[in-house]
Structures are given as C-alpha cells and as structure tokens.
C-alpha cells in the first residue's frame, strides 16, 4: 500500500510516498540512489545490506520501509561526519581490512553497532557479533584487527 514514510537519512529529513511494504534496501538503492548499501543474499544471511536504525545495525533487505518511519537511518555514505572519517573507516583502511570491498559497508556498520553496545569487545565477542556478516575474500583476520583498533581509538568517546 502506498503510504507517506518519513525518516532521517544520513542527517537529512526524507519523505517518500512508497509501497510501505517494500524492503528498505531497495528504497535506498533504487528510489534514493544510495548505492553504498549492497545486496548480497536478500534473506538476511550475509549482512552486506546492513544499515543503522538509530545505533542498531539492521539487515535492510529484511526491513519494510514503513518500519523506519520516524527513525534515524544511517548508511555507509552518512558515517563520515563533516568530511571526517569515522574511526572504524580509518581502521579498515589502515589495516587493509577489505579486498573487493563489497561487504565492507555492512561490515563497518555492523561493527559500529557492536561498539555502541560494547565499547571494549574481546576477540571472542567481536567474532560472535560479526558471525553472520559474510566476507568471501577472506579479510576476516584484518576486520577483527580493525575493529579492535577502532575500539581503542574510540575509548576517548568519538
């Protein structure tokens, strides 16, 4: 059913008239042209489509757009603020924690969500939180290292 859906997207108020049952992923990519959010599996198995709703990473392929009405949504394009990269983005770069880069937006936003819940995660807690984020290139080792580095840097509270 077509409805008006309002939410904040990367800091900007956004209003859409859409079939509100459509997946947030496709509304972001096709309607709004925010292509940083990726399709990987369409069934919530891989995490390539993760975005933040508030501080929580969700799988946008599984979220009907009406569920974000009134919410604050952040995609990978909105993570850097005022031209300053988020510590996770910097850490992914410095640790070479990516190869093809296709899972990277989802990895970073899932890690962001983890660090909000648990600012000092152990190695085991990182693995557990990231377990359902899939990377095919095999960058796992460096992704864990990047998250650890970002956690350290964020201790001052960024």
């Amino acid at each position: 059913m077509e409805e008006v859906v309002r939410f904040t997207l990367n800091g900007k108020p956004t209003t859409l008239t859409v079939d509100s049952g459509r997946a947030l992923l496709w509304v972001l990519r096709a309607d709004l042209g925010m292509t940083g959010t990726k399709y990987g599996c369409g069934e919530g198995h891989c995490g390539a489509c993760a975005v933040l709703v508030g501080e929580q990473a969700v799988r946008s392929c599984m979220v009907p757009v009406k569920q974000v009405h009134g919410e604050v949504v952040t995609t990978i394009e909105g993570l850097a603020r005022n031209g300053k990269l988020h510590p996770l983005q910097k850490a992914f770069m410095e640790n070479d924690a990516l190869q093809c880069g296709f899972c990277t937006p989802g990895m970073i936003l899932s890690a962001y969500s983890l660090l909000r819940r648990n600012p000092r995660p152990s190695d085991a807690e990182i693995r557990e939180a990231m377990e359902h984020s899939l990377c095919r290139c095999g960058a796992h080792k460096r992704i864990i290292e990047a998250i650890q580095q970002a956690a350290k840097e964020m201790e001052g509270g960024s």
Partner: protein, 716 residues
Amino acid sequence: MDYDRYMELDFTDDGPAFVMTRRELLQLMGTGIIIVLTGGEVIAQASEGRRGGSGQGLPEDFNAFLRIGEDGKVTCFTGKVEMGQGPITSLAQELADELDVSLDSVQMVMGDTDLCPWDMGTFGSMTTRFFGPALRAAGAEARAVLLELAAEQLGRPVEQLAVQDGVVFDRENANARVSYAQLAKGKRIARHAKATLKTPAEFKVIGKATTRRDALAKVTGAAKYAGDIRPSGMLYAKILRPPAHGATLKSVDVSGAEEVKGAQVVRDGDLVAVLHEHPDEAERALWRIRAEFETPQAGADDVSVFDHLVKVAAEGEEVSRGGDLKRGEARAAEVFENTYLNSYVAHAPIEPHTAVVQIEGKKTTVWASTQTPFSARDEVAEALGCAREDVRVITPFLGGGFGGKTRNLQVVEAARLAKLAGKPVQVAWSRAEEFFGDSFRPAAVVKIRSGLTRDGHIAFWDYHVYYAGSRGAEHFYDIADYATVSHGSGWGGGAHPFATGPWRAPGNNTNTFARESQIDLMAARAKADPVEFRLRHLRDEKMRGVLTAAAERFGWTSAKPAAERGCGVALGIDSGTYVATIAEAEVDERTGLVKVRRVVAAQNMGLVINPEGARIQMEGCITMGLGYALTEEIRFRGAEILDRNFDTYQIPRFSWLPQIETVLVEDKNAAPQGGGEPAIITMGGVVANAICAATGARVLQLPMTPKRVTEALRKR
C-alpha cells in the same frame, strides 16, 4: 551525483572525470605523452597461445599502456580488473618505480575496452606475472624518452641526469631541472627508446608494503560496482529461470505480472523478463508469472556423480612420466591405493553477477561485473548484431570474482533486454540465480597407487586424476618411477550436469589434497615425521626453502600437541609460486566437527611487488580455503541445484578463523609469480593431514564435513 555519465575508473581526487574515447585518446597524443609499445618479447609472452576468440592478442599497432599528462599525472591503462586481488595498487607501484614518480601521481584506468589495451581477462594469477613485466617495460621506455627530452631541453647529456618524483635534474647542478609535466606540455611523442628494467637494488616503490589505494572509496560507499551504475531511464530486469539446467519452457502466462503497476514483460524466445524501475517490484511481478517447464530426467546427484565421472571420462592424457612403474612397484615393500573425491563448489562472490547496458543509436555502453571485459564486448556485439567497435565495456569494481565472472551470461541478458526495451537495463542476479547460473569448480576424482620401499622411500607413484585437470597434478618429489595421467578435461565437456569452470586455483586444490594426503599416509606408515619424510624426498631447493621456513615459524615438532589436536603439513606449486602450509586442527570426536586453530603458510613467489598485498592474498586464500576443506559442496539432483543461499551453502565465518601467520620467503632476483591463488591449494590437504594427526582418521573426501569425519573415525 550524476550517474548518467559514469565513465571513469579514476581513483584519485584530482578533479574532473577522465572521460575519453579512443579517438580522443589518440588526439591527446598532441598534448601529453602516450607510450606506445609495439610487440616485444614481453608482450609476445603475455599473449602467446592465449589469443581471444576474436583472434586478438595484445594489440601490436596501438598499445597505449600509459600516458603522462600535462599536469604530470601518469595514467596507467590496463585491461585487467580490480576484484579485490589488488592490482590497482601493485601495478601502480610497478609503474611508479620504473618512471621515478610518486605512487600518488599514478592513476589507474582498468577494464575499459575503449581505452585499455586488449586483454584476455583477469584470472590465473597472470596480472603480476605477465602484464606486470609489459607495464614495467612501458614505464622504463617512457622514462628513457623523458630523459632524452630533458637532455635536449637542459642541454646536458642523458648520463648526467637523474629523476626524482617526476622531476629530471642535473646530478651536478640540481638547479637545472625540468618536470615530466613540463616535458609533456605540447609534445607529441612517437618514438621509442631502449630501456632496461630496474634491478631490485634500485627499487623504491616495488617491494614496499603499501595499503590499498581503493580503500577510501570502499569504506565510504563511494566505490561503484556494476549494480551502482544507474543511467537515467534505466529499468531493472528480473528473468524467468527454469527449475533445472536443460529444462525447456512449455507454456507461460505473464498476465499476472503485467497487472503489477509499472511492470513491463518482455520476451525473446526462452528469455522472459519483467522490467521495472524498482528491482524489488520487478521481482514481485516475476513471482506472478505462471510457467511450465519440461525438465529432463534427473541424472547423477551429488553422491552418485563420482562414479558417473569415472565412467564417462575419456582415455587419460599423460601429463608426465619418469622411469618405469613396473620396476618401481617391484621395489615396493608395501603398496597404497586410494581414491580421493572433491565436490562441486560455488564461487559465491558477495556481489552477484550484474550488468547494465545502455544503447544509444549505434553506440552500446556496458558496465559489467566481469573478469573478461573484452570477451564481454565481443559477446554483446554478437548478441546485438553490431560491430565490436560500437560496444564499449566499462568494468567498475568487482565484488569478488574467483574465476566465476568469466562467462558474461548476465551481460548478454542485459544487452538483449536493453534492445527489446529500448531503454537502459540492469540485470543483477539474485543469490538463488547466482547459485544456479554459476560455473562450479568441477567435482573430481583422484586415484593414486603408490609404494614404499623397506627403507622408507617412495618406490613408485601412479597418479590418475579425473576432471580436475593437470594444474597441480604433477608431483615434485624425488620419485624415480612415476606416471601422472589426466582423464577428462578440467571443465568437463558435457560430463557434468551443469556448467563448470575455473575456481581460485582450479583443479590444483583437488590435486594437492590428493597428493599431500597420500604422501602423508605413506610417511605415517614409514613411521617418519611428515616434514622430515617430505624433505627426504625433496631436491628442489625452492620447495625445501618454503617447507623449512614454515616449519621454523610454526615451531614444528613431531610431538602431538594435545588430545584431539594434531598438526599437518601440505606443499604445493601454483602459478609459479611455491607454498608450504602447516596447520593445527582440533577434532571433536563426538560430533566430527573440525576446528582449525592455527595456520602458518610460507610462500616463495619470486620478486614481491607489494608485500602487504601478497600477505592479504595469502590470508584470503587460507580463510577461503577452509570452506572447500570443511563445508562447501553444491548439493544437486540431476541438473537441479538444491543450494540457493548462504543458509545451506556455508562459507567461512568469523568463528572459523584460525590464527594465521604468513611468511614471504625472499627471492628478489627471481621473476614475480602468482599471488592470488597459490596459498589456497594446500588447505584441503593440510587440514586432512592435521585431522589424521589428531585422530588417526584419514578423510578421503572434501569437504570434510562432520559426517565424513565421523565415518573416517569409525573406520580407523
């Protein structure tokens, strides 16, 4: 952002997009310096025996490898693509070093068929081995030409000049200087200079660990993949798929789909698709199509396929032979005969196959996730019935390839649909389509008969591989009497129920698993340490070197670490690179579940262009390799693929990750070898050997699922 004219692969932030046609490129010769290479030994080597279906090799008439602009920027043109394996960094390093410019001033234009020299494709770990030397030669020639120009301008002999960061200066008077940018201004260069490549001692950029140059774009979401290209008016397509390969469409009722607002159904023979401005709406409409297919009788399934393959395999072709098998067997005190099996595996890149095609008058532009942009161009031209010159394929970043993005089926689909629709069309496969349309690594069988002499030496080696091909089939041990025979080609020619193709280091995974398992079980029978047993049979200094390096780093001892834990070793050669891998695994004997705790891999790949990139590739190989070792196998019934998503087809996850250590054995004066594939080939064998060391159970089939491990435990 204007997506309509996304024509560039410009990875630096230096202003306007770099948009050129070939004609414009030629015109640019008046304003910059374009280095044209004609023929030459390196190029011949790069294209020898590997010409495209169109009869093309690397072009000999017009072969622009690089351009030095009036702004001093160096642009490298290469038909290679960036799919995560890192040439966007390593090739730029090679060029920067030969040219004596900073790495930052080199920009890469990759996989654009209008701008880049013809290329066969990005696979087989060939970029650094074959394109790299050609690129370095172009860089060295360019530098020589620039030095000549500088000598004329400065009125000094070439021998007296030096270059730093793109500025030529007099060694004796550094005030006499001129930059590449100044030299390029208003120049037209059509000459060649003799140049020699730098030696390792002269390298400044090559061999220096360098982080990825595309990382910024990839962590901010700015990096464009094919599905992110959206020309205005573009429609997303969803295509009707048969339930099994070979099924034919009997009847179709599309009326339900046509009722979906904004949906347009198009049909061209068996190609039935829904087009819509939103991909999810296109998919919703597709579900409303009622179609009947006639599915051929199911043949083999994932259990019976191995017998089928051995039965249909052609007479074997000899890969290598030495001595006399009969003589060797007569010396054997004990004979070992085993059959090793390996399953079909999927490439499963996180980015599914995607293509966008835009037809404007005569000109067709394609953006595709492809490892073979030039083949894609030819295939589109054929499908549209137009000239190859009228098709331009632009390759944005690939979200993984691993050998799977070489067939371009989705590109041809998008081209046909764009023509039917009269609008730009994007085809992006769903995950289920990806598992269906993939060209799997072929299932394969290896039969080995081998023998041990009374004093613990390998007496003979009789090796038969079915459908894994000859890559990695040859042993490298000191065995006098041996034969290696390959039955059925690597890709199967009709033997398989569906398409098969190369998968990261193709059949070498299967061959190395079988060989290293067999060597290990003989070592155990000879009551020898598996590392010592291998060294006993190795004369090749390079192989001894990597094995020794891995054993040292691992702290190898014959002692068993702890209950249910064990350490294994496996060796292999791929794409010219030598690999030794040692792993420690833990086996839960109750469940058969295997956990790999630690992996050390040592690699000799000759000259290492980017040590950081090389290590990342090794880590990626080790991590990805755990998948085919432990869980990955396509389940199918006849030509129907049962795996459709990552819930049943399990790829490696964070919880699997062992402690990984990589060792690069220095060999600077040797030519650079492959890096993207070699370290994956040992993973099946090393895990099998570690399982055996932990439990005494020998698993002869990949993947080593809990069920297979449990069976092997029962048989021990």
